[in-house]
Amino acid sequence: MRHRAIPFVALIVALLASGTHAQSLSGEYKLGVLEPLTGPLAFEGKRHLEGLEIVRDMINERGGVMGKKLTFALADATDPTVAASEANRLITREGVKIIIGTFSSRLCGAASEVAARHNVIYWETSCVDPRFNKRGLKTVYRTEIDATGFGWYNVEFIAKHLAPRFNLKPNQIKIAFLSEDSSYGQGVTESARLRAKQEFGMQELAAEYYNWTTINDMTPIVLKLKQLNPDIVHHIGFGNDAVLFWRQSKEQNFLFKALVHAGATGYGGSDFGKALGNDANGVFALLEPGPGFRLEALKPEGQKIEREFREAVQKRTGSYPLGGHQLAGPGLWILKLVLDRAGTDDPDKFNAAVMSLDLPVGSSMNGWGVKFSETGQNANERVQHYMLQWQNSQLVTVWPEEFTTARAKWIPLGAWDQRK
């Protein structure tokens, strides 16, 4: 029990010291990439990484960043402790000055704290925790809007686009809220509830949360909602819970006028269409643009890179860019624009470049514009979100109408077997 510690100390030193890598070669610029590649979020982390790699190649074809070839130092963030630890490793061992990531709110919070403490830039592309930019951290930026923005857009859609088509005034709408209970679902749902009630006076019939990993039967909640008889079901699902709810609603013949969701998971994921085929018809999901997106609505530069991006994703994955691709890829693109402008990764000059960037909606490959607030958050109005609808096993872009060629169908949703 005594001398055994000595070989251990030697072991630790050897193992940890061996992790030291050489600093970037001249001619290469290394960017830290932090994504969940194992664990329950791995399926999204993988898509993010794909989007990032494709845009990295696009960037390198155009001369890289700051005249150097862009390369990634990859790190896997499975939980908050690991996220912080890996952020640390990227900074001290890989020597990166910028970290891009991270998809999940529980990961981005811890990792960005570490980055800020080391005065390293943290560039977030998709976590939506509303508190992210409110912590007073200087080097933290986010290109995606936060969850409150999702809720805001959803209610906008319901009040301005759906209600008139139901011949109802917004304050006559009866709405039921259902959601998975992670920070994502809670963030979107709470902001939607607030706006629905305060700004439009909608009648809230129910607000229920559940754990998306353990729910295996939605019949009780379907029955309960059926008795409450809402016009709109605002359901934020994350995975199979969306499929379960929709399928069991059909089985129980639960009828309502529309279901609205937000985000690239659950109803907004390709798995939903794969699981239900044409039965998925009619569901609305707030997302990055999909087919039906009117490319002419993009600015010329936007159109060019949109096509390149879309074709590259198609070639690599066989599908139209999914939410994960559309968040990570354009996020990296905007980072490139900033670096082009700043010419350096020095935090102060970087910050100046970020603040000076002002691009209208339609500039990026997913239709986003850019205008950052002082807290490092890209403005809601620039991060144009779109409402997509499942039509014949595809998510089609239907709103806002100036950006789309397709139109929403089945308003209100009729009987279950009549949505062809």
């Binding site: 664990g39 399926f43 559940y210 295996n216």
Partner: protein, 304 residues
């Protein structure tokens, strides 16, 4: 509780529907738990990796359906012997050495197995959520005011058949009696000339065959992904404890009780509290009647 609810035809229909949900769900839980109760009851081993064998069963159904178009219910004929062998191999490689070890060693061995299996699945098949969509998944049968999903009904029926078959095996065959004797008193069984190693081997293999079969059956009903076993593993433990160690009838009834608590609790109080109900039930049973509702009183301290 919803003030708008009165006892009218709609409410009666709802209750009937909830009853149907309970029964269908309960049957599935039973098959998952039956394997666990056998292993737990006879070998006194807490098998943390139980959910992972379920997950492997789901993947078996997925790949056979996707690659060769075979319906899960036909794959079952292959799955049962296949998982039986998997159980044998796992026993010999992993479990055998830890039967007589302390509880924590058993717990951690099986936990290590669980991590191993989860991540082998992740590395081999990626973390994407997969689906098995046979034709019967979209068929809904309506009887009176209630709806049954055909896939769920078939899964339920097959689960019950397999559980009853196992029950009969345990009660009426010589081997079954030998296994039960070993469960009651390991040392006495050895003294009587019973080859306990063979009993354990058989028990574990049967237990894994049962849970693998359950995986195949439930694959159409849930998503298939590497950590899919997690949702069921804790739940199956609640069922097993409720029903009593090694008691198969208890497992069936325990499943119904857990399913009922879940369904009723979700309906009345909201689905947010679903898991809390059966965990609280679990703790209450553990405190007041740890042998389970049907087990022998005091048996929870036997063989510890």
């Amino acid at each position: 509780m919803d003030p708008a609810r009165r006892l009218g035809p709609a409410q009666i229909d709802a209750v009937a529907q909830l009853g149907v949900s309970t029964v269908l769900l309960g049957g599935i839980y039973a098959l998952i738990a039956v394997g666990l109760t056998l292993i737990f009851g006879i070998m006194r081993v807490v098998n943390f990796a139980h959910g992972e064998f379920l997950m492997l069963g789901m993947y078996l159904a997925f790949w056979s359906f996707t690659l060769w178009g075979v319906d899960p219910y036909f794959i079952l004929f292959v799955a049962i012997p296949l998982f039986f062998m998997v159980g044998l191999v796992t026993y010999v490689l992993v479990m055998k050495g830890v039967i007589t070890a302390s509880h924590n060693v058993q717990i951690f061995t099986t936990f290590g197995l669980s991590i191993l299996l989860q991540n082998v699945a992740l590395v081999s098949w990626s973390g994407d959520f997969r689906f098995v969509r046979p034709w019967h998944l979209s068929v809904a049968l309506r009887v009176g005011g209630t709806t049954f999903n055909l896939s769920q009904v078939v899964a339920f029926v097959i689960s019950v058949v397999l559980t009853v078959a196992l029950f009969a095996f345990m009660k009426f065959t010589h081997t079954g009696r030998v296994m039960r004797a070993t469960a009651q008193d390991r040392d006495a069984a050895t003294l009587m000339g019973i080859d306990t190693d063979r009993v354990y081997r058989l028990t574990f293999a049967i237990g894994i065959a049962a849970v693998g079969a359950a995986g195949v059956l439930v694959a159409p009903l849930y998503s298939v992904y590497p950590t899919a076993g997690l949702q069921f593993v804790l739940l199956s433990y609640v069922v097993v404890v409720l029903g009593g160690l090694g008691d198969m009838a208890g497992a069936l009834i325990g499943s119904l009780i857990v399913a009922a608590v879940e369904v009723a609790g979700s309906y009345v109080f909201g689905i947010a509290w679903k898991e809390i109900f059966y965990f609280l039930l679990f703790i209450l049973v553990l405190v007041f009647r740890p042998a389970g509702l049907f087990g022998q009183r005091g048996s929870e301290t036997l063989g510890a």
